[in-house]
């Protein structure tokens, strides 16, 4: 009944290259062929698929992939019931609340009641504002939340930032940090039992390969 262990990787964006690289350092080279959605790897026990970073937690929770590499923020946002086996160290970012630089808002307390908030992270956004007892209207946008204040869609945004560069360019300032995130190796609960020895071997290699330990 042995089959290949499937790893889901972010198909594009800032996590794509480092994910491929971290696996390479652990001895798994992805032999990527165009137009096939399942890629072979140099280790015959593993195969890889590429998916949106946002969808990786779902693939892993439902066992469509046994392992997945994606951000801690995304795993929390998707409320995925998966094991986070390892902090891979890269993909450091923060989920923040930002408002226009020229607005009078200096802290979360200054955000008006029933403010509109544009975000790609509706769950984490809602939870955060509930925790600070602010009532907000959450607008889900895909990708470019930083445009929302410019276009008058919402004054406040909740978004990911790495260096703060995009925020500065869009004349936005951070008023709160919701969480710090890095890229994680997520694992399906059942796969972790079934493939324990193989997965532990990979974990060992990933740790030695330089991924920072949790």
């Amino acid at each position: 009944m042995k089959r290949k262990i499937r790893i889901a990787l972010p198909s594009k964006g800032r996590l794509n290259q480092p994910s491929i690289q971290v696996l390479q350092e652990a001895g798994i080279n992805i032999l990527r062929k165009e137009r096939t959605y399942i890629s072979k790897t140099s280790d015959p026990r593993f195969e890889a698929i590429f998916a949106r970073a946002f969808d990786v937690p779902i693939y892993v929770q439902y066992g469509a992939a046994d392992l997945g590499i994606t951000g801690h923020d995304v795993i929390l946002e998707r409320k995925a019931d998966v094991h986070e086996l390892l902090d891979l160290g890269f993909g450091k970012c923060q989920l923040i609340v930002a408002v226009p630089e020229n607005s009078g808002i200096r802290s979360i307390d200054d955000i008006p009641a029933v403010a509109r908030v544009a975000t790609e992270y509706p769950n984490l956004c809602q939870e955060y504002f509930e925790s600070v007892e602010k009532q907000v209207e959450v607008l889900v946008v895909r990708g470019t939340a930083e445009l929302a204040p410019k276009l008058g869609l919402a004054q406040t945004i909740v978004d990911i930032t790495e260096t703060g560069e995009t925020l500065r360019r869009n004349k936005l300032k951070i008023v709160a940090t919701i969480l710090n995130s890095t890229c994680r190796l997520a694992c399906n609960r059942i796969a972790y039992r079934v493939f324990e020895s193989e997965i532990n071997e990979l974990l060992g290699k990933l740790r030695n390969g330089g991924a920072s330990k949790k």
Partner: protein, 419 residues
């Protein structure tokens, strides 16, 4: 016009597959002496909420009855079974063996799309608190899944009482308990040790957590030694688990059973062993269960220990499908004739032989009848003349062959094929 979110229609092919799983499970449950019960899909919310924990209560569809009482759709079947036992079967000799196959409803608030109506098949062994009873339920679960034709079945066993008591013994606050439980789930020994050092675990407790989280098989539990006085209950739990293992050996299913110290179920009423069944090609458990010795008394003040499990029919089907399973297709025969009389006689004769037979309604041209048969998944079309005793023309729709023979001979040939 669509069905509400998370619900669906089952068209004939799906029902067929669904029924296959149901019937197999029903057969096995009955062979083991379990008797089927049914209960209303709607019950008072107090009944359904008893002992199950807030997560399940939150997920119930609730609404108000005409008299103002709050009712809900059942979200699982153990609470209704407990109610039935306390209110209607107190006099029944114990142990009582019950099973059910029914739909349950859960409203899921999570981000994920999930079925909100799904089917469960489960058993309850009531009135027995011996490891032998847990052994029977585990062996029945293993047998049921294997009888379905599933390969690579495994059952992971934990113990709700053992984990709860050990967590309590740490004296950690709730938040830290969750962290610890996660670490146990990740089986990350380094992190576990670090955590225990930071939180000043006694050496004895440290040893217990480490050893238990290393155990992968029930028999390895014999290596876990604890001072008898302080942790007497924990010792009892370990002994019981080892006895469960002994009974699994007798059933010959010990190879399928693993130990997972971190295993917890989302429903709260479990007190003893808890378990989950899975196959390697499905990332979600097929089902699970465990011992619940304190649930039934909440319904009627009589303490009755019990143990049981439930599996999800849909998950079993998904697992079967991904293992390449095809349900055995039953053959179907369409009978056509210009003479209604002999056509009816012919279908009756075929049905008497236990083969599915349909009567052509169109009395149309041969080609039309054959096209209909092909599109409807019918294997043979039999054209009968004025007398069904005489030779009939038989089309095999797959092989596209035509033969002439009498119905009797045709039925004989079908029977021969079956062998």
């Amino acid at each position: 016009m669509q069905t509400p979110k998370g619900t669906k229609d089952y068209l004939p092919p799906e029902v067929e597959r669904h029924r296959y799983v149901e019937q197999r499970l029903r057969e096995v449950f009955k062979l083991w002496g379990y008797q089927e019960i049914r209960s209303p899909a709607i019950e008072l919310v107090e009944v359904l909420s008893t002992g199950v924990g807030s997560e399940l209560i939150d997920s119930m569809f609730k609404f108000q009855d005409f008299d103002g009482k709050i009712v809900a759709l059942r979200a699982e079947m153990t609470a209704p079974a407990a109610r039935i036992v306390t209110t209607k079967m107190l006099e029944a000799p114990r142990p009582i063996r019950l099973f059910y196959i029914c739909n349950v409803f859960r409203y899921s608030q999570s981000y994920l799309e999930r079925e909100r109506e799904f089917w469960q098949a489960g058993v309850e062994l009531i009135g027995c608190n011996t490891p032998g009873a847990d052994g029977e339920v585990l062996a029945l679960l293993a047998s049921s899944l294997e009888k379905l034709g599933l390969e690579g079945v495994r059952i992971d066993v934990g113990h709700a009482g053992l984990l709860k008591d050990l967590l309590r013994a740490t004296g950690l606050d709730e938040e830290k308990k969750v962290v610890l439980q996660n670490l146990l789930g990740y089986r990350d020994e380094d992190q576990l040790e670090k955590f225990m050092d930071q939180n000043n675990f006694s050496s004895q407790l440290r040893e217990a957590f480490l050893r238990l989280s290393r155990c992968r098989r029930l028999e390895e539990l014999s290596s876990v030694a604890l001072e008898p006085l302080k942790y007497r209950r924990i010792k009892d739990y370990l002994r019981a688990l080892l006895e469960v293992k002994d009974s699994l050996v007798k059933y010959g299913v010990e190879n399928l059973v693993f130990f997972d110290f971190s295993l917890v179920r989302k429903i709260e009423y479990y007190t003893g062993i808890v378990f989950e069944a899975s196959v390697p090609n499905l990332g979600l458990p097929l089902g699970g269960g465990g011992r619940y010795d304190n649930l039934i008394e909440k319904f009627g003040k009589v303490k009755i220990p019990a143990t049981g499990f439930a599996v999800e029919i849909e998950k079993c089907l998904q697992a079967l499908t991904s293992q390449g399973f095809q349900p055995l297709e039953k053959r179907k025969v369409l009978v056509a004739s210009r003479f209604r009389d002999s056509a009816i006689k012919a279908v009756e004769a075929i049905r008497d032989a236990g083969v599915t037979a349909l009567l052509d309604m169109t009395r149309g041209a041969r080609k039309k009848v054959l096209d209909y048969a092909k599109l409807s998944g019918i294997n043979y079309v039999v054209f009968v003349g004025s007398s069904f005793e005489k030779s009939a023309t038989i089309h095999d729709t797959r092989l596209e062959t035509v033969t002439n023979m009498r119905i009797k001979a045709f039925l004989q040939s079908l029977e021969d094929d079956q062998r």
